[in-house]
């Protein structure tokens, strides 16, 4: 089992550019975290990270996603190679103080696991075009994947390397495994 994983490489998702055949990358962003600090793509430069989309008052899939993301967090905590970005899709309700309380009650240190907010359109655009459309090019339903509960794995070059169902413990086990496969990948 371990021997197999050592040889496993993760695919690079998204279309190659027809001009210079480079892979699609997550576009630059400007968001604000639970402490009111500005977080841009510079924060995740050179890091492996997992992105997800949620809202604090969501009673359906979000608590399960957060329970699963907490499991991911426990595996990567203290390892500077990894970062987690949870984005609220209800920025009007999820104020910065609310995100701060949510993050700390969940057990986040507020550094390695960031809770991000910003302009609603910007977050939806980032979710749909930046993350989910790259991860799942067949998705035609607008907004459909924003609520899908997907965890998106991004490599240090901002390329999407996998999407996992954040409500399914087995897929999240796979994500945890893949995080470390990505870490051992040569740059």
């Amino acid at each position: 089992m371990v021997a197999c994983n050592q040889n496993k490489t993760l695919p690079i998702l998204g279309e190659k550019s027809p001009i210079d055949s480079t892979y699609a990358t997550v576009p630059p962003f400007v968001l604000v975290n639970q402490d009111g600090d500005t977080i841009t793509e510079a924060f995740v430069k050179g890091k492996i990270y997992v992105a997800d989309f949620f809202f604090t008052s969501c009673p359906t899939i979000c608590p399960i996603m957060k329970k699963e993301m907490l499991r991911v967090y426990q595996q990567i905590k203290g390892d500077p190679a990894f970062v987690l970005l949870s984005h609220t899709i209800d920025p009007e309700f999820d104020s910065i103080p609310l995100l701060k309380e949510y993050a700390s009650r969940l057990g986040s240190d507020g550094k390695q696991w960031q809770f991000l907010t910003g302009n609603r359109e910007q977050i939806y655009e980032l979710a749909e075009k930046g993350y989910y459309a790259t991860a799942m090019p067949d998705s035609t339903e607008p907004g459909g994947y924003v609520h899908s509960g997907g965890f998106i794995l991004v490599d240090p070059k901002s390329r999407v390397r996998g999407v996992y169902n954040g409500t399914d413990a087995k897929e999240v086990d796979q994500l945890i495994e893949d995080l470390f496969i990505l870490k051992s990948e040569k740059p």
């Binding site: 008052s57 009673p59 608590p63 957060k66 907490l70 700390s104 009650r105």
Partner: protein, 138 residues
């Protein structure tokens, strides 16, 4: 072997009174409804979520407020509560689409499954409690 199993099943069913059998069926229904309406937040094993969503499993709050459980399920909750020495303050949504029998089944399941020693409350008293929920508990 199969015959033997069938016979023992039938004997087992006959050993139960009608009331016990009906309560077992309700708990079974309650388990399915719990999965559908409650487990997203409180989790299938009743462990809750960190300091955000309180546990039901071995919860002192649940034991203390067992009689109010139908109203909590039906009308939701808000404000601070203490569960096993920790403070929680996340709004629980109302479930006003559940009918009385559904709420009853969930209560029977939760009270049987999650306390250290199962709590048995009479169905009639739970139904009465649903009918007499304070209207301002939304």
């Amino acid at each position: 072997m199969r015959l033997l199993m069938c016979i023992s099943c039938i004997l087992f069913l006959y050993a139960c009174s009608d009331a016990e059998l009906s309560s077992m069926q309700q708990i079974h229904t309650g388990a399915k409804l719990y999965e559908l309406h409650c487990s997203n937040c409180h989790q299938a094993d009743g462990s809750g979520l960190a300091m955000l969503i309180p546990p039901l499993k071995q919860s002192d709050y649940l034991l203390k407020h067992a009689k109010n459980l139908p109203c909590m399920i039906r009308h939701g909750m808000q404000g601070e509560i203490q569960v096993n020495g920790k403070t929680y303050n996340q709004k629980m949504p109302a479930n006003d689409k559940l009918n009385e029998q559904d709420v009853l089944a969930i209560c029977l399941y939760v009270l049987q499954k999650f306390p250290e020693n199962p709590v048995s409350l009479h169905s009639d008293s739970l139904i009465k409690s649903i009918q007499n929920c304070p209207s301002n508990s939304h």
